[in-house]
Symmetry: C2
Subunit: 245 residues, 2 copies
Amino acid sequence: MTYCVGLLLENGLVFMSDTRTNSGVDNLSVFQKMFSWTVPGERLITIMTAGNLATTQCLVSLLDERSKTPEDRDPSILKVSSMFQAAKLIGDTLREIILDTSPTGLSGDSSFSANIILGGQIKGGQQRLFLIYPEGNFIEASEDTPFFQSGETKYGRPILVRAFDRNMTFEDAVKLLMVSFDSTLKANLSVGLPLDLQIYERDSLTKGMEKRFESYDPYYLKISEGWSTALKEAQRSLPNFHFEV
Amino acid sequence: MTYCVGLLLENGLVFMSDTRTNSGVDNLSVFQKMFSWTVPGERLITIMTAGNLATTQCLVSLLDERSKTPEDRDPSILKVSSMFQAAKLIGDTLREIILDTSPTGLSGDSSFSANIILGGQIKGGQQRLFLIYPEGNFIEASEDTPFFQSGETKYGRPILVRAFDRNMTFEDAVKLLMVSFDSTLKANLSVGLPLDLQIYERDSLTKGMEKRFESYDPYYLKISEGWSTALKEAQRSLPNFHFEV
């Protein structure tokens, strides 16, 4: 499993993903799930992948190769003229890969399916955030639903629903994501550290701050320990229940 | 879907269940999911059901009829000599019902499966809490895992994992459960109010306090509103993230 979150803020985009892949509980590995393509000053396109690793690695390789080999550069992730076109290219490529693997008649324990969170901005357009389905179609984040999660989404959702605010700072967004990821990490073995973070500053048209939070990261440890205490305190602060006598 | 939680405290048992059943999003109903059998001074046996409604209603009817018709009273939920025997009786009955329905070749959109949380105490034995699987086998709560959830468990799990304490009072346990249920209600339409609560006081060998929390229950509303604020405050109280300069 996987846990990825993309936030659409007034100031920009925030991406966070875990890095654990597992095939059974005795086959755990660390694989990056966040990938970016950028032409500074012109475009930044970031995706986070969730699902079958062979499918998602193939997707990234295809997008990458198509962006590098000039003769095969049409359509290319570095050439598409809008984020909508980028979502369409990625969705079409994803569906192609899944269809290519599926009809062989061979099937693994899990399906070849995958989901993609896509965010970024291309010169002349707005910053946009999409969730792309294995069928190749996609939905876009709006003011009403300004974030997307994929993978193991349930444990970390209550805090996002309650505390997310489109106008929050990047620093607050990182804090919120750390709590949401920590709740998920504590509950589900298939989501694991390290965590990858990337910030995109609106209209900057280039890749922003990146950071990897390892399990010994002091900020992660502070959040992880602090959240237990803060949650118990929040719980304590609520009005007490009294049995009717 | 459903959300049920059974807690094994030092002082006794606490049961809470929602009451929503759904078959699609346009077919919602309120059905009780918590059922008790008691012989005051001798035994209290409570179950909470999650899964196919036809299966769980049949289970309750069978257990009930077997406890009422004298000629068919062996084995009966009011006669079994230990909580282990009660778990075995319920597990066997559950498996029987599912097997009886399944081989007809007809199948609905969902399976005929169900899970049961069972708790109680029979004179001469300890209070015990079990989780019974559709296959008829079961596991028992211990000091290491002193609660069971069933149904839509993920949204409400982080707060249980962090704030549960075997030595907490009944009042604190109810408060904790209200928060856990509220997180689930806010995130998943298939879990719905009203909520049923039952307390069993250790060694009392009779049914304790019962309460139904309707959507307009003042305590529920206080928790639901208060938790948003408390959670945001908890979030705010954590150390801030700072980008390295």
